[in-house]
């Protein structure tokens, strides 16, 4: 049912954005993870102990993180990594759908001998390929920096693999949400704004849930909760949460196909 022609073309059309976002993500990992030793030197733990506890929790930090490179990377560095990756994932997925209306190419793509469902599935598969490449790059760079520079012998590639896998699945889920909403938008600008807004919303909701016990239910609205990269890096992955994420992605693609099949394209 998926169309190889569409998959290859979508990957080709989006390779430049992948390169840019992968470079930004790698730079963030390089700077943050590379700063681990520096954080130890300036006794960051003492410093954050002086901060109000809700604020520290809200920023995704804990004193233990600064003594354990695995928790530091999985729980803090990749918290921001996931923020970036989820914004990119939503921009990518949303753009794949809304671009056709925005550019006026609906008449090209939706008059081919391929169903709209097959078009959405093909685009979703090319999205999976691009996001997989992004996270493989992020993982390989993290492991290289962790093992060969920051914490040789301590940095645990297996725990980090689970943490990155959780982040990868969360990015897919973010993309699924964008796929579901994109048929409602006629402009790439609309899906880009949505991606940035939702990306930060997930981050902030997660932060608020950490800060205040009364707002814990906000967790359920954030992909960060289900990914729990800190737990995964500590060797305690939230398996049930990780299972929810691909389901969100699949549900998003299904909703996208349903909406697109109902959608009309007037001149």
């Amino acid at each position: 049912m998926p169309n190889g022609n569409i998959i290859i073309t979508e990957i080709s059309l989006n390779q430049r954005s992948l390169l840019i976002w992968a470079a930004v993500l790698i730079l963030v990992i390089l700077i943050y993870l590379g700063s681990f030793g520096f954080m130890e030197e300036i006794d960051f733990v003492e410093m954050i102990e002086g901060f109000p506890e809700p604020l520290v929790s809200g920023l995704g930090m804990s004193p233990e993180m600064f003594g354990d490179v695995n928790q530091y990377h999985g729980g803090l560095v990749m918290l921001y990594g996931l923020l970036l990756a989820s914004i990119y994932a939503m921009m990518l997925a949303g753009g794949m759908i809304s671009r056709e209306v925005d550019l006026g190419t609906v008449e090209f793509i939706y008059t081919r001998p391929v169903t709209r469902t097959a078009i959405v599935i093909s685009k979703a598969l090319s999205f999976v390929v691009l996001i997989t490449i992004l996270w493989i790059a992020a993982y390989l760079v993290s492991v290289a920096i962790g093992i060969f520079w920051v914490a040789p012998g301590v940095f645990d590639p297996n725990a980090q693999f689970t943490a990155h896998l959780a982040g990868y699945l969360a990015s897919l889920a973010a993309g699924g949400i964008a796929f579901a909403l994109a048929p409602l938008f006629d402009r790439i600008q609309g899906t880009t704004s949505l991606a940035i807004a939702l990306g930060f919303a997930f981050f902030i909701l997660n932060g608020l849930a950490q800060m205040y016990g009364q707002l814990e239910f906000f967790n359920y609205l954030s992909i960060h909760y289900y990914a729990d990269m800190a737990g995964a890096a500590a060797g305690e992955p939230f398996v049930a949460g990780m299972a929810v994420l691909p389901a969100v992605f699949i549900a998003g693609v299904v909703v996208s196909a349903i909406l697109l099949n109902r959608r009309e394209f007037p001149a």
Binding site: N5, R16, E107, T111, R112, P113, L260, E264, A267
Partner: protein, 304 residues
């Protein structure tokens, strides 16, 4: 067998009329012109035939199968060129053609190269660098590259220079001789007269005439532009020719829409002492205005 047919096809956009009860039947191997001024429902009809819009009521059928909303295999044998051709700006023309080619098993490289050559397009430029006319050429090639059995064109000649338009119509005639059916919308009468077997005229969303090209209403109409050598003829003499008006941009010139038979028209004109005379075919807008507007009628007083 019909390549394409509609049965009381109706489309409303909310309360706004798109088309109402449109009945069309295009036989296999026929070239059918769908004519009307801008904004009367031509593109709406085409979009309904392609499944880009859903009918409010009625049916559209392509190769005896109902048009699905979500696209599909039905369009394997259909080629479509929209009025405004848009592609991915970062692609080259050749990328677009290869992308389009990837959807079909029919067609071959030699045919694509022939089309590129005949339509005189450099396919290796970026889409963003193409003019409207060159994008249209890429649009035409991508619609023809799989040698479709049914071609749907929305304003095929728009944006093309006259030489390329001639070449396009030659290609279409060749494809038609090989069995392709062609359905195209236009507001240019000349295009219809040149290649169509039958035509339908649409006005305000409804078909007002359907039949062979030589029975097209208004074909007998002529647009006469003239200037008298001496004193102007009387308003009555002018109105004997048809609906006359002064041309505000050209002092002393008159424009007359005449429905007189050719010999009578020439006879009437021979009575005048003329400095300038030009007789042309009417545009589609002129035919519509003079045949179908409520105020239209016989002669008129140009000085009124």
């Amino acid at each position: 067998m019909y390549a394409l047919e509609t049965n009381r096809l109706t489309k409303y956009y909310g309360k706004n009329r798109g088309i109402v009860d449109v009945n069309l039947a295009i036989r296999d191997g026929e070239i059918f012109g769908f004519i009307g001024p801008n904004g009367v429902g031509k593109t709406t009809t085409i979009r309904l035939l392609l499944g880009l819009l859903k009918p409010t009521s009625g049916q559209a059928r392509v190769f005896n199968r109902n048009v699905p909303t979500g696209g599909g295999k039905l369009y394997r044998r259909v080629g479509y060129v929209p009025s405004e051709v848009q592609y991915y700006p970062e692609m080259t023309g050749r990328d677009v053609l290869e992308y389009a080619r990837g959807f079909y098993t029919a067609g071959d490289d030699q045919w694509v190269e022939e089309l590129i050559d005949r339509l005189r397009i450099d396919p290796d430029k970026k889409i963003r660098a193409y003019s409207h006319g060159n994008r249209k050429k890429i649009g035409i090639i991508q619609a023809l590259l799989h040698k479709p059995r049914l071609l749907i064109f929305d304003e095929p000649g728009s944006g093309l220079d006259p030489l390329i338009r001639q070449e396009l119509f030659k290609i279409l005639e060749e494809m038609n001789r090989k069995g392709a059916s062609i359905f195209f919308s236009t507001h240019v009468l000349e295009e219809v007269e040149r290649i169509c077997h039958r035509v339908a005229m649409i006005k305000d969303g409804s078909i007002i005439h359907e039949g062979p090209v030589d029975r097209l209403p208004g074909r007998e109409m002529r647009v006469v532009t003239l200037k008298f050598a001496g004193r102007d003829a009387s308003a009555t003499a002018l109105s004997n020719l048809g609906v006359a008006e002064k041309l505000p941009s050209m002092p002393g010139y008159y424009r007359v829409i005449s429905r007189l038979p050719a010999n009578q028209l020439v006879g009437q004109l021979a009575r005048f002492d003329l400095e300038y005379l030009k007789i042309t075919d009417p545009s589609l807008e002129e035919i519509f205005f003079n045949l179908y507007e409520p105020s239209s009628g016989g002669g008129s007083n140009p000085d009124a």
